[in-house]
Amino acid sequence: MKKLLSMVLVVCVLVSLAVIPAAAAGEELAGTGASKGEARKAELNIMMSFPQYMDQWETYCKQFEEKMLEEENIQVTVNLEMPSSDQYESILQARLSGDDAPDLFTLHANNIGTYNKAGYLYDLTEQPLADVIYENVRDTVSVDGALLAVPIESQAWGVLYNKEIFAQCGLEAPETLADLEAICATLEEQGYTPFMLAFQEQWVPQLMTGLTLGDIVSGKLTDWLERMYADQGSYDEVREIFDVIDLIMTHGTDRAMEEGSEAGAADFALGKAAMFVQGTWASNTIMTTNPDMQLGVFALPINDDPGCTLVNLSTSTTLAVYPESEELDLALKFANYVLDENDSSELFQACSFNPLATVHDYEAFSWVADASAYVADGRAYQDLVLPSSVTDEQGRLLQEYYVGSVTVDEIVERLDKAFQDANALS
């Protein structure tokens, strides 16, 4: 015991004393490698919130390294960092405010405004990539006409449904709330659970407010959001969204709070429920779990006016370039490479992202086509941009609503307050 301890101690102290100078020397050496006549060495730090697509992006970074060596004679080392999505934002914030920003980083399109105000986004308007992005997607990543990030995940989305089950029961996509009620009744008669509920993570129940508020604001209360930002509106005016939310919650699977988003997608793929309020970004998990799945998308009806039954057009993940990056040129090259003429399609397809630029020549999945049909009919709206604290609060309150600890009246009151608080801060 004594010997062991003293040995451990001695080793610890010795190691700590011996390695410090060695490490310092190592760092100096690393700094002097650039001046030779061969390939210039460079490092590019990229931070992304895509741990589920780690492999695909690693491969893409390797391709970029090769391309740079070949075309520019630069030996790039890409350091790709993928924190889990829980901690992503806090790490990114610490990096940015600590003058230690990655050269490129992903962020949600709804946060572009905030980050732009803080001066963390490089204006990409003049870059070649600006010309290839579809017009309607471009709008979602621009502020006052300036393109501030490369869109990566962009989709038209509504409710996912299992076409096979719908066909067996002789059902079709609903146009009104009454249709949806009838669908639930038929499904239950046939022994199916209508809705998959996976509320463990707050952002999933939040999707219900995302869809219903979008429907109601584009369909009838067009000035609601503006008035909310001016402290002159209330959630009381949009109270009818709870008609459909109640319907979904009462006709859903059990144990929703124990079901994570990925588990929910897998269970949905296995036929545990016929519908799932979830974006098309879940399609990757769904199709991996069940490659024979016949996946469809319909717009969520909220009342008896089909004019309010619309799909949501939104961009979630985007890639931004840090304006003070030491390797700005290289960072911009990478940003452009994401929408590269030759290689981008393969990447986007491997991650099941939707095509969003003219360089994407692959065929869209059938469920994307479903949603695109709505868009082609003009039955779509741009995702509402709410203060992110309000979005979080919606998710939390819907969890509480599901477990029965708040009433609709309390939700209205607390969301109004959250919105006013956010207004007061900006």
């Binding site: 806090s90 463990q200 993570e201 969890q399 600890s405």
Partner: protein
Amino acid sequence: MGSRRHPNRSLLLFCLPALVVYALFKLFPAGAGLVYALTDWNGLNRDYDFVGLRNFAEIFHDRYYWDSVLFTCKYTAVMVVVSNVLALGLAVAIESRRRAKGFFRTVFYMPNMISMVIGGYMWMFIFTKVLYYLADNYGMKFLDRSWIGDPRYSFIAICVVAAWGAVGYLMIIYMAALQGVPRELKEAAAIDGAGGWISFWKIVLPMIRHAVTICVFWALNAGFQVFDVIYALTGGGPGRATQSVAINIYEEAFRGNIRYGYATAKSTVLFIIVLVITMLQLYLTGRKEQEL
């Protein structure tokens, strides 16, 4: 004999390495945190304004914060009692027997070796898969509860996992203390009915009061700062139902409105609460030890 004549100089020399790292990595950040508490910094922008004590004034009206304080108090109270009673019970039970002491000690201490992040995920598997499986296939209907989703049960789930991680450590401390107590007394305490209880309260417990102080102090401190377990299991949800103060602060600093200044003000208040409770406890146990 320089140290005799200049006790403070030699003291400072010996404390210097510890003081330097301590000042750099604990005191300074804590002080800097206090400064942020007086600003409206959002953790993102490059500049910020001083707002005086406005953040602190706001805390008084922050219902969510006080809810989380209440939850943390409830959690700490339950954990201090449950983990100490369990640990002491296990320690007395093991120490009173001759056989298989090592085995049980090894088993009970094991969870303490494993990270709460790892342990939390293992329990997540139990709560979301195994218990339902038992409920559905073996008719154990009492297990069919929303262990993560329903605030009533998720509180139990959180306590179970936290106790799972902590009891072993406390038990080891109690066992060591009990080794100074004669075997007969321990055996009596473990099984001997009323007589045993009296001898336990009157003789054994006072003999190990030092260990009790350490363990209660440790459990209080850990309870008020609880983060990992809740973060791993419920994330503070559903809604805010299982939000501890540390989680409330974390969310304020990194989510939603990203009010870093306000969040540090909140953690200052947490610090003061913990300080007061600890002082009170040290004062009370100190007085008791003097009495005896």
